[in-house]
Amino acid sequence: MRKNQVAVVGAAETTELGVIPNASQLQLHADAALNAIADAGLKLSDIDGFATAVETPQQVCHYLGIKPTWVDGTSVGGCSFMLHVRHAAAAIEASLCKTVLITHAESGKSMIGKLPRSTPADSLNGQFEAPFGVYGPPSMFPIPVLRFMKTYGITHEQLASVAVVQREWAAKNPRAMMKEPITVADVLNSRMIAYPFHLLQCCLVTDGGGALILTSADRARDFPRKPVYIMGTGESVETPMVSQMETFNSSRAFKTAGPLAFREAGIAHGDVDHLMIYDAFAHLPLFGLGDLGFMPYEETGQFIADGNTRPGAKLPLNTNGGGLSYMHSGMYGMYALQESVRQMRGIAPAQVPNAKISVCHGVGGMFAASGTIVFTNET
Protein backbone atom coordinates (compact mmCIF):
# COMPACT_ATOMS: atom_id res chain seq x y z
CA MET A 1 0.00 0.00 0.00
CA ARG A 2 1.23 3.52 -0.76
CA LYS A 3 1.81 5.64 2.32
CA ASN A 4 -0.16 8.72 3.36
CA GLN A 5 -2.95 8.21 0.79
CA VAL A 6 -5.65 7.79 3.44
CA ALA A 7 -6.27 9.78 6.62
CA VAL A 8 -8.27 9.68 9.83
CA VAL A 9 -10.67 12.65 9.72
CA GLY A 10 -12.95 11.71 12.61
CA ALA A 11 -12.13 10.10 15.95
CA ALA A 12 -14.02 9.86 19.21
CA GLU A 13 -14.65 7.64 22.18
CA THR A 14 -17.99 7.09 23.88
CA THR A 15 -19.31 10.10 25.81
CA GLU A 16 -18.55 8.22 29.02
CA LEU A 17 -15.93 5.60 29.80
CA GLY A 18 -15.69 3.28 32.77
CA VAL A 19 -18.94 2.00 34.21
CA ILE A 20 -21.88 2.80 31.94
CA PRO A 21 -24.96 1.08 33.39
CA ASN A 22 -27.45 2.98 31.24
CA ALA A 23 -26.45 1.77 27.75
CA SER A 24 -26.30 -1.53 25.92
CA GLN A 25 -23.22 -2.58 23.97
CA LEU A 26 -25.02 -1.76 20.71
CA GLN A 27 -25.92 1.72 21.94
CA LEU A 28 -22.28 2.29 22.93
CA HIS A 29 -21.33 1.57 19.28
CA ALA A 30 -23.85 4.20 18.22
CA ASP A 31 -22.69 6.72 20.83
CA ALA A 32 -19.07 6.43 19.67
CA ALA A 33 -20.11 6.56 16.00
CA LEU A 34 -22.26 9.67 16.45
CA ASN A 35 -19.43 11.38 18.35
CA ALA A 36 -16.96 10.56 15.57
CA ILE A 37 -19.35 11.73 12.86
CA ALA A 38 -19.82 15.03 14.71
CA ASP A 39 -16.04 15.29 15.15
CA ALA A 40 -15.62 14.95 11.38
CA GLY A 41 -18.46 17.33 10.58
CA LEU A 42 -20.22 14.64 8.55
CA LYS A 43 -23.73 13.24 8.27
CA LEU A 44 -24.54 9.54 8.66
CA SER A 45 -25.48 9.47 5.00
CA ASP A 46 -21.89 10.37 4.09
CA ILE A 47 -20.66 7.00 5.40
CA ASP A 48 -20.41 4.42 2.61
CA GLY A 49 -17.97 1.98 4.22
CA PHE A 50 -18.24 0.30 7.61
CA ALA A 51 -16.18 -2.04 9.78
CA THR A 52 -16.61 -3.50 13.23
CA ALA A 53 -15.72 -6.59 15.29
CA VAL A 54 -17.70 -8.97 17.53
CA GLU A 55 -20.96 -7.25 16.62
CA THR A 56 -21.72 -7.81 12.93
CA PRO A 57 -21.60 -4.96 10.41
CA GLN A 58 -25.30 -5.55 9.62
CA GLN A 59 -26.22 -5.18 13.30
CA VAL A 60 -24.48 -1.85 13.76
CA CYS A 61 -25.29 -0.48 10.28
CA HIS A 62 -28.98 -1.21 10.75
CA TYR A 63 -29.01 0.34 14.21
CA LEU A 64 -27.27 3.49 12.96
CA GLY A 65 -29.14 3.68 9.65
CA ILE A 66 -26.02 3.36 7.50
CA LYS A 67 -26.27 1.98 3.94
CA PRO A 68 -22.74 0.83 3.12
CA THR A 69 -21.27 -0.34 -0.18
CA TRP A 70 -18.23 -1.86 1.59
CA VAL A 71 -18.10 -3.69 4.92
CA ASP A 72 -15.49 -5.53 6.94
CA GLY A 73 -16.37 -7.76 9.87
CA THR A 74 -12.84 -8.95 10.64
CA SER A 75 -12.96 -10.08 14.24
CA VAL A 76 -9.62 -11.35 15.50
CA GLY A 77 -9.74 -9.93 19.02
CA GLY A 78 -8.65 -6.60 20.44
CA CYS A 79 -6.49 -5.59 17.47
CA SER A 80 -9.36 -6.04 14.99
CA PHE A 81 -9.56 -2.26 14.63
CA MET A 82 -5.94 -2.01 13.50
CA LEU A 83 -6.81 -4.53 10.80
CA HIS A 84 -9.95 -2.53 9.95
CA VAL A 85 -7.82 0.60 9.48
CA ARG A 86 -5.49 -1.33 7.16
CA HIS A 87 -8.35 -2.88 5.18
CA ALA A 88 -10.25 0.43 5.00
CA ALA A 89 -7.18 2.23 3.66
CA ALA A 90 -6.86 -0.42 0.94
CA ALA A 91 -10.57 -0.19 0.12
CA ILE A 92 -10.49 3.60 -0.14
CA GLU A 93 -7.40 3.43 -2.36
CA ALA A 94 -9.19 0.86 -4.56
CA SER A 95 -12.22 3.20 -4.80
CA LEU A 96 -14.55 0.62 -3.21
CA CYS A 97 -15.82 3.36 -0.91
CA LYS A 98 -14.99 6.94 0.05
CA THR A 99 -15.68 7.36 3.76
CA VAL A 100 -15.27 4.49 6.23
CA LEU A 101 -16.61 4.36 9.78
CA ILE A 102 -14.98 1.87 12.16
CA THR A 103 -16.69 1.24 15.51
CA HIS A 104 -15.88 -0.63 18.67
CA ALA A 105 -17.89 -0.86 21.85
CA GLU A 106 -18.07 -3.30 24.68
CA SER A 107 -20.19 -3.47 27.79
CA GLY A 108 -17.29 -5.29 29.41
CA LYS A 109 -18.14 -4.33 32.98
CA SER A 110 -21.92 -3.85 33.00
CA MET A 111 -22.50 -6.74 30.56
CA ILE A 112 -25.59 -5.18 28.96
CA GLY A 113 -26.34 -6.62 25.54
CA LYS A 114 -22.88 -8.20 25.47
CA LEU A 115 -22.55 -11.18 23.19
CA PRO A 116 -21.50 -14.38 24.99
CA ARG A 117 -17.97 -15.67 24.50
CA SER A 118 -17.84 -19.44 24.60
CA THR A 119 -15.42 -22.23 23.79
CA PRO A 120 -17.21 -25.22 22.24
CA ALA A 121 -16.12 -28.54 23.78
CA ASP A 122 -15.30 -29.93 20.34
CA SER A 123 -13.15 -26.98 19.23
CA LEU A 124 -9.38 -27.39 19.48
CA ASN A 125 -9.29 -24.93 22.39
CA GLY A 126 -12.16 -26.82 24.00
CA GLN A 127 -10.33 -30.14 23.71
CA PHE A 128 -6.72 -29.20 24.32
CA GLU A 129 -6.75 -26.14 26.60
CA ALA A 130 -10.07 -25.72 28.44
CA PRO A 131 -9.85 -29.08 30.30
CA PHE A 132 -6.65 -27.95 32.02
CA GLY A 133 -8.24 -25.05 33.86
CA VAL A 134 -7.81 -22.00 31.65
CA TYR A 135 -10.61 -19.63 32.47
CA GLY A 136 -10.49 -16.21 30.92
CA PRO A 137 -7.54 -14.13 29.73
CA PRO A 138 -5.74 -13.78 33.11
CA SER A 139 -5.21 -17.56 33.21
CA MET A 140 -4.03 -17.73 29.59
CA PHE A 141 -2.26 -14.58 28.47
CA PRO A 142 0.54 -14.75 31.09
CA ILE A 143 1.40 -18.40 30.30
CA PRO A 144 4.46 -17.43 28.18
CA VAL A 145 5.82 -14.97 30.79
CA LEU A 146 7.99 -17.29 32.91
CA ARG A 147 9.73 -18.68 29.83
CA PHE A 148 10.28 -15.17 28.45
CA MET A 149 11.71 -14.08 31.82
CA LYS A 150 14.09 -17.04 32.01
CA THR A 151 15.30 -16.71 28.43
CA TYR A 152 16.07 -13.01 28.67
CA GLY A 153 16.78 -12.50 32.37
CA ILE A 154 13.71 -10.30 32.91
CA THR A 155 12.83 -9.73 36.60
CA HIS A 156 9.54 -9.54 38.47
CA GLU A 157 10.41 -5.97 39.45
CA GLN A 158 10.90 -4.97 35.81
CA LEU A 159 7.51 -6.43 34.91
CA ALA A 160 5.98 -4.54 37.84
CA SER A 161 7.54 -1.29 36.62
CA VAL A 162 5.40 -1.45 33.46
CA ALA A 163 2.30 -0.81 35.58
CA VAL A 164 4.06 1.89 37.62
CA VAL A 165 5.13 3.91 34.57
CA GLN A 166 1.76 3.65 32.90
CA ARG A 167 0.09 4.93 36.05
CA GLU A 168 2.30 8.03 35.73
CA TRP A 169 0.78 8.64 32.30
CA ALA A 170 -2.73 7.92 33.55
CA ALA A 171 -2.32 10.54 36.28
CA LYS A 172 -2.19 13.16 33.50
CA ASN A 173 -5.39 11.91 31.88
CA PRO A 174 -8.73 13.09 33.34
CA ARG A 175 -10.55 10.18 31.64
CA ALA A 176 -8.27 7.47 33.05
CA MET A 177 -9.93 5.03 35.43
CA MET A 178 -6.91 4.68 37.76
CA LYS A 179 -4.83 7.78 38.54
CA GLU A 180 -3.32 7.19 42.00
CA PRO A 181 0.48 6.79 41.86
CA ILE A 182 1.77 3.27 42.58
CA THR A 183 5.17 1.74 43.32
CA VAL A 184 6.83 -1.51 42.28
CA ALA A 185 6.14 -2.77 45.82
CA ASP A 186 2.43 -1.89 45.47
CA VAL A 187 2.29 -3.96 42.29
CA LEU A 188 4.08 -6.94 43.77
CA ASN A 189 1.95 -6.77 46.92
CA SER A 190 -1.35 -6.55 45.05
CA ARG A 191 -3.31 -9.79 45.12
CA MET A 192 -2.11 -12.66 43.01
CA ILE A 193 -4.24 -13.35 39.94
CA ALA A 194 -2.17 -15.85 37.96
CA TYR A 195 1.46 -16.21 39.05
CA PRO A 196 3.64 -14.47 38.05
CA PHE A 197 1.04 -11.72 37.63
CA HIS A 198 -0.65 -9.68 40.31
CA LEU A 199 -3.81 -7.62 40.02
CA LEU A 200 -2.00 -4.42 39.00
CA GLN A 201 -0.32 -6.23 36.10
CA CYS A 202 -3.70 -7.16 34.60
CA CYS A 203 -5.92 -4.87 32.56
CA LEU A 204 -8.97 -3.10 33.87
CA VAL A 205 -12.49 -4.27 33.05
CA THR A 206 -14.67 -1.39 31.90
CA ASP A 207 -17.43 -0.25 29.53
CA GLY A 208 -16.85 2.00 26.56
CA GLY A 209 -16.29 2.37 22.88
CA GLY A 210 -14.65 4.36 20.15
CA ALA A 211 -14.99 5.13 16.46
CA LEU A 212 -12.78 6.31 13.62
CA ILE A 213 -13.61 7.84 10.25
CA LEU A 214 -11.20 7.48 7.33
CA THR A 215 -11.17 9.01 3.88
CA SER A 216 -8.69 9.69 1.09
CA ALA A 217 -5.87 12.13 1.79
CA ASP A 218 -6.95 14.48 -1.01
CA ARG A 219 -10.38 14.89 0.63
CA ALA A 220 -8.97 14.98 4.16
CA ARG A 221 -7.78 18.59 3.92
CA ASP A 222 -11.41 19.79 3.66
CA PHE A 223 -12.33 18.42 7.09
CA PRO A 224 -12.42 20.50 10.28
CA ARG A 225 -9.77 18.45 12.12
CA LYS A 226 -6.09 18.14 11.36
CA PRO A 227 -5.78 14.99 9.20
CA VAL A 228 -3.84 12.06 10.62
CA TYR A 229 -2.34 10.06 7.78
CA ILE A 230 -1.96 6.29 7.56
CA MET A 231 1.74 5.96 6.89
CA GLY A 232 2.21 2.22 7.23
CA THR A 233 0.24 -0.88 8.18
CA GLY A 234 0.78 -4.53 9.02
CA GLU A 235 -1.22 -7.52 10.19
CA SER A 236 -0.95 -11.22 10.90
CA VAL A 237 -2.40 -14.10 12.89
CA GLU A 238 -0.70 -17.05 14.56
CA THR A 239 -2.83 -19.43 16.64
CA PRO A 240 -5.95 -19.28 18.83
CA MET A 241 -4.18 -21.59 21.33
CA VAL A 242 -1.53 -19.86 23.43
CA SER A 243 0.05 -23.26 24.10
CA GLN A 244 0.72 -23.66 20.38
CA MET A 245 2.69 -20.46 19.77
CA GLU A 246 5.91 -21.21 17.91
CA THR A 247 7.85 -19.90 20.90
CA PHE A 248 7.20 -18.05 24.15
CA ASN A 249 10.29 -15.91 23.55
CA SER A 250 8.48 -13.72 21.02
CA SER A 251 5.21 -13.40 19.12
CA ARG A 252 5.23 -14.47 15.48
CA ALA A 253 2.18 -12.28 14.77
CA PHE A 254 3.94 -9.25 16.32
CA LYS A 255 7.12 -9.97 14.38
CA THR A 256 5.16 -10.08 11.13
CA ALA A 257 2.79 -7.13 11.57
CA GLY A 258 5.21 -4.67 13.16
CA PRO A 259 8.08 -4.80 10.65
CA LEU A 260 5.56 -4.77 7.75
CA ALA A 261 4.21 -1.45 9.00
CA PHE A 262 7.68 0.01 9.53
CA ARG A 263 8.76 -1.00 6.01
CA GLU A 264 5.63 0.41 4.41
CA ALA A 265 6.08 3.69 6.29
CA GLY A 266 9.76 3.77 5.40
CA ILE A 267 10.73 4.69 8.95
CA ALA A 268 13.45 3.63 11.37
CA HIS A 269 12.93 3.15 15.10
CA GLY A 270 14.62 6.48 15.85
CA ASP A 271 11.87 8.23 13.85
CA VAL A 272 9.15 7.12 16.27
CA ASP A 273 7.99 10.00 18.50
CA HIS A 274 5.13 8.17 20.19
CA LEU A 275 4.37 4.52 20.73
CA MET A 276 1.32 2.54 21.78
CA ILE A 277 1.70 -1.19 22.56
CA TYR A 278 -1.55 -2.85 23.55
CA ASP A 279 -1.07 -3.77 27.20
CA ALA A 280 -3.74 -6.23 28.25
CA PHE A 281 -1.09 -7.54 30.64
CA ALA A 282 2.28 -6.18 31.77
CA HIS A 283 4.45 -8.38 29.56
CA LEU A 284 3.02 -7.13 26.27
CA PRO A 285 5.09 -3.92 26.09
CA LEU A 286 8.23 -6.05 26.53
CA PHE A 287 7.24 -8.43 23.75
CA GLY A 288 6.30 -5.42 21.61
CA LEU A 289 9.57 -3.54 22.13
CA GLY A 290 11.50 -6.68 21.20
CA ASP A 291 9.31 -7.97 18.37
CA LEU A 292 9.04 -4.55 16.72
CA GLY A 293 12.82 -4.31 16.83
CA PHE A 294 13.26 -1.35 19.17
CA MET A 295 15.91 -3.21 21.18
CA PRO A 296 17.12 -6.70 22.08
CA TYR A 297 14.58 -8.56 24.25
CA GLU A 298 17.12 -8.72 27.11
CA GLU A 299 17.02 -4.92 27.39
CA THR A 300 13.24 -4.40 27.31
CA GLY A 301 12.58 -4.84 31.03
CA GLN A 302 15.42 -2.60 32.19
CA PHE A 303 14.51 -0.02 29.53
CA ILE A 304 11.07 0.44 31.09
CA ALA A 305 12.31 0.11 34.69
CA ASP A 306 14.87 2.83 33.99
CA GLY A 307 12.09 5.24 33.06
CA ASN A 308 12.74 5.52 29.33
CA THR A 309 9.02 5.31 28.50
CA ARG A 310 7.70 7.66 31.20
CA PRO A 311 6.44 11.24 30.70
CA GLY A 312 9.22 13.41 29.35
CA ALA A 313 11.49 10.49 28.46
CA LYS A 314 12.82 9.47 25.06
CA LEU A 315 10.20 6.89 24.04
CA PRO A 316 6.73 7.89 25.31
CA LEU A 317 4.79 4.62 25.55
CA ASN A 318 1.09 4.07 26.29
CA THR A 319 0.53 7.72 27.02
CA ASN A 320 -3.18 7.39 27.89
CA GLY A 321 -2.30 5.06 30.79
CA GLY A 322 -2.94 1.95 28.70
CA GLY A 323 -5.17 -1.00 29.35
CA LEU A 324 -3.61 -1.25 32.80
CA SER A 325 -4.75 2.21 33.96
CA TYR A 326 -6.80 4.05 31.31
CA MET A 327 -9.55 1.64 30.39
CA HIS A 328 -10.02 -1.84 28.92
CA SER A 329 -13.46 -2.87 27.80
CA GLY A 330 -12.23 -6.19 26.42
CA MET A 331 -10.96 -5.11 23.00
CA TYR A 332 -8.59 -2.28 23.79
CA GLY A 333 -7.12 -1.74 20.30
CA MET A 334 -9.59 1.04 19.50
CA TYR A 335 -8.45 3.07 22.53
CA ALA A 336 -4.81 2.72 21.54
CA LEU A 337 -5.72 4.02 18.07
CA GLN A 338 -7.69 6.92 19.61
CA GLU A 339 -4.65 7.93 21.66
CA SER A 340 -2.36 7.82 18.63
CA VAL A 341 -4.81 10.04 16.73
CA ARG A 342 -5.02 12.49 19.65
CA GLN A 343 -1.23 12.64 19.84
CA MET A 344 -0.99 13.30 16.08
CA ARG A 345 -3.67 15.98 16.32
CA GLY A 346 -1.77 17.54 19.22
CA ILE A 347 -4.71 17.37 21.63
CA ALA A 348 -3.83 14.47 23.96
CA PRO A 349 -4.15 15.12 27.71
CA ALA A 350 -0.50 14.08 28.07
CA GLN A 351 0.63 15.51 24.77
CA VAL A 352 4.11 14.58 23.51
CA PRO A 353 5.54 17.88 22.23
CA ASN A 354 6.02 18.05 18.45
CA ALA A 355 5.21 14.37 17.91
CA LYS A 356 5.08 13.66 14.18
CA ILE A 357 5.09 9.86 13.95
CA SER A 358 3.07 7.51 16.14
CA VAL A 359 3.25 3.71 16.04
CA CYS A 360 0.19 1.87 17.32
CA HIS A 361 0.63 -1.87 17.86
CA GLY A 362 -2.20 -4.21 18.78
CA VAL A 363 -2.70 -7.77 19.92
CA GLY A 364 -5.74 -9.99 19.46
CA GLY A 365 -6.59 -12.98 21.61
CA MET A 366 -3.63 -14.40 23.53
CA PHE A 367 -0.96 -13.47 20.95
CA ALA A 368 -3.40 -14.93 18.37
CA ALA A 369 -3.39 -11.91 16.08
CA SER A 370 -1.68 -8.60 15.60
CA GLY A 371 -2.10 -5.34 13.74
CA THR A 372 0.23 -2.34 13.55
CA ILE A 373 -0.53 1.16 12.24
CA VAL A 374 2.01 3.94 11.72
CA PHE A 375 0.39 7.38 11.81
CA THR A 376 1.82 10.75 10.87
CA ASN A 377 0.53 14.31 10.87
CA GLU A 378 2.86 15.40 8.05
CA THR A 379 2.98 14.50 4.38
Binding site: L124, V134, P138, S139, F248
Partner: protein
Protein backbone atom coordinates in the same frame (compact mmCIF):
# COMPACT_ATOMS: atom_id res chain seq x y z
CA UNK B 1 -27.64 -27.11 42.54
CA UNK B 2 -25.37 -29.23 40.40
CA UNK B 3 -21.66 -28.60 40.99
CA UNK B 4 -20.18 -26.97 37.88
CA UNK B 5 -17.98 -29.49 36.12
CA UNK B 6 -14.50 -29.30 34.73
CA UNK B 7 -14.59 -28.58 30.99
CA UNK B 8 -14.80 -31.90 29.12
CA UNK B 9 -13.32 -32.29 25.67
CA UNK B 10 -15.60 -33.57 22.94
CA UNK B 11 -13.60 -35.46 20.28
CA UNK B 12 -14.05 -34.84 16.58
CA UNK B 13 -13.30 -37.33 13.78
CA UNK B 14 -9.83 -35.79 13.48
CA UNK B 15 -8.98 -36.05 17.17
CA UNK B 16 -10.70 -39.31 18.13
CA UNK B 17 -7.46 -41.31 17.91
CA UNK B 18 -5.84 -39.03 20.48
CA UNK B 19 -8.64 -39.51 23.01
CA UNK B 20 -8.81 -43.25 22.29
CA UNK B 21 -5.08 -43.24 23.06
CA UNK B 22 -5.30 -41.52 26.42
CA UNK B 23 -8.09 -43.89 27.42
CA UNK B 24 -5.77 -46.78 26.54
CA UNK B 25 -2.89 -45.21 28.50
CA UNK B 26 -1.01 -43.92 25.46
CA UNK B 27 -0.03 -40.42 24.41
CA UNK B 28 -0.46 -40.47 20.63
CA UNK B 29 1.15 -37.98 18.27
CA UNK B 30 1.28 -37.79 14.50
CA UNK B 31 4.27 -37.85 12.18
CA UNK B 32 4.35 -36.87 8.52
CA UNK B 33 5.40 -39.78 6.28
CA UNK B 34 6.78 -37.34 3.73
CA UNK B 35 8.83 -34.88 5.80
CA UNK B 36 8.97 -36.60 9.24
CA UNK B 37 7.51 -33.54 11.00
CA UNK B 38 5.91 -34.47 14.34
CA UNK B 39 2.93 -32.30 15.24
CA UNK B 40 0.07 -31.60 17.64
CA UNK B 41 -2.88 -30.98 17.91
CA UNK B 42 -4.18 -33.79 15.70
CA UNK B 43 -5.20 -33.31 12.07
CA UNK B 44 -5.13 -35.67 9.07
CA UNK B 45 -2.42 -33.78 7.17
CA UNK B 46 1.00 -32.31 7.87
CA UNK B 47 0.88 -28.61 8.86
CA UNK B 48 4.49 -28.29 7.70
CA UNK B 49 4.39 -29.75 4.15
CA UNK B 50 0.63 -30.36 3.57
CA UNK B 51 1.06 -34.08 2.86
CA UNK B 52 -1.99 -36.17 3.70
CA UNK B 53 0.23 -39.21 4.31
CA UNK B 54 0.65 -39.12 8.06
CA UNK B 55 0.98 -41.80 10.75
CA UNK B 56 -0.13 -42.02 14.34
CA UNK B 57 2.44 -43.24 16.85
CA UNK B 58 2.80 -43.68 20.60
CA UNK B 59 4.93 -40.90 22.06
CA UNK B 60 7.49 -41.46 24.80
CA UNK B 61 5.42 -39.43 27.24
CA UNK B 62 8.59 -37.64 28.32
CA UNK B 63 9.16 -33.92 28.19
CA UNK B 64 9.99 -30.83 30.21
CA UNK B 65 8.20 -27.89 31.78
CA UNK B 66 8.26 -25.12 29.16
CA UNK B 67 6.18 -22.51 31.01
CA UNK B 68 3.18 -22.13 33.30
CA UNK B 69 0.98 -19.90 35.40
CA UNK B 70 -0.37 -20.70 38.84
CA UNK B 71 -3.97 -19.63 38.58
CA UNK B 72 -5.50 -18.01 41.65
CA UNK B 73 -8.63 -16.30 40.36
CA UNK B 74 -10.98 -16.74 38.77
CA UNK B 75 -10.74 -20.51 39.04
CA UNK B 76 -12.21 -22.69 36.32
CA UNK B 77 -15.16 -24.87 37.33
CA UNK B 78 -13.89 -28.11 38.87
CA UNK B 79 -10.55 -26.60 39.95
CA UNK B 80 -9.43 -25.58 43.43
CA UNK B 81 -7.02 -22.63 43.32
CA UNK B 82 -4.14 -22.17 43.29
CA UNK B 83 -3.42 -24.62 40.48
CA UNK B 84 -0.79 -24.64 37.76
CA UNK B 85 -1.68 -24.52 34.07
CA UNK B 86 1.41 -25.77 32.32
CA UNK B 87 2.78 -26.05 28.83
CA UNK B 88 4.92 -29.15 28.38
CA UNK B 89 7.44 -29.58 25.60
CA UNK B 90 7.52 -33.24 24.59
CA UNK B 91 10.77 -34.97 23.67
CA UNK B 92 9.30 -35.51 20.19
CA UNK B 93 9.00 -31.72 19.73
CA UNK B 94 5.37 -30.62 20.04
CA UNK B 95 4.11 -28.71 23.05
CA UNK B 96 0.82 -29.25 24.83
CA UNK B 97 -1.11 -27.64 27.65
CA UNK B 98 -1.59 -29.81 30.72
CA UNK B 99 -1.54 -29.93 34.51
CA UNK B 100 1.29 -31.04 36.79
CA UNK B 101 0.39 -33.66 39.40
CA UNK B 102 2.30 -35.09 42.37
CA UNK B 103 4.02 -31.74 42.81
CA UNK B 104 3.25 -28.71 45.03
CA UNK B 105 1.65 -25.98 42.95
CA UNK B 106 4.27 -23.41 43.92
CA UNK B 107 6.93 -21.42 42.03
CA UNK B 108 9.60 -23.14 44.15
CA UNK B 109 8.49 -26.66 43.21
CA UNK B 110 7.65 -25.88 39.60
CA UNK B 111 11.06 -25.19 38.10
CA UNK B 112 11.19 -24.41 34.39
CA UNK B 113 12.90 -27.14 32.38
CA UNK B 114 12.19 -29.83 35.01
CA UNK B 115 11.79 -33.27 33.44
CA UNK B 116 8.23 -34.57 33.28
CA UNK B 117 6.47 -37.78 32.34
CA UNK B 118 2.90 -38.32 31.25
CA UNK B 119 0.20 -39.75 33.51
CA UNK B 120 -3.45 -40.32 32.77
CA UNK B 121 -6.40 -38.88 34.65
CA UNK B 122 -9.78 -40.46 33.99
CA UNK B 123 -12.53 -37.84 33.89
CA UNK B 124 -15.38 -40.20 33.03
CA UNK B 125 -15.93 -43.39 31.01
CA UNK B 126 -15.32 -41.49 27.74
CA UNK B 127 -12.51 -39.06 28.48
CA UNK B 128 -9.09 -39.53 30.03
CA UNK B 129 -6.82 -36.47 30.19
CA UNK B 130 -3.05 -36.51 29.71
CA UNK B 131 -1.37 -34.84 32.70
CA UNK B 132 2.28 -34.79 33.74
CA UNK B 133 4.28 -35.53 36.89
CA UNK B 134 7.93 -34.91 37.77
CA UNK B 135 10.01 -37.64 36.10
CA UNK B 136 11.52 -40.26 38.39
CA UNK B 137 15.29 -40.54 38.45
Amino acid sequence: MVEPQRARPKPTPETQHFWDGTKAGELRLQRCDACAHVYFPPRPFCPSCASRKVSIFKASGKGFLYSYVINHRPAAPGFTPPYAIAVVELDEGPRMMSNIIDCPQTPEALALDMKLEVAFQELDDKITLPVFRPAKG
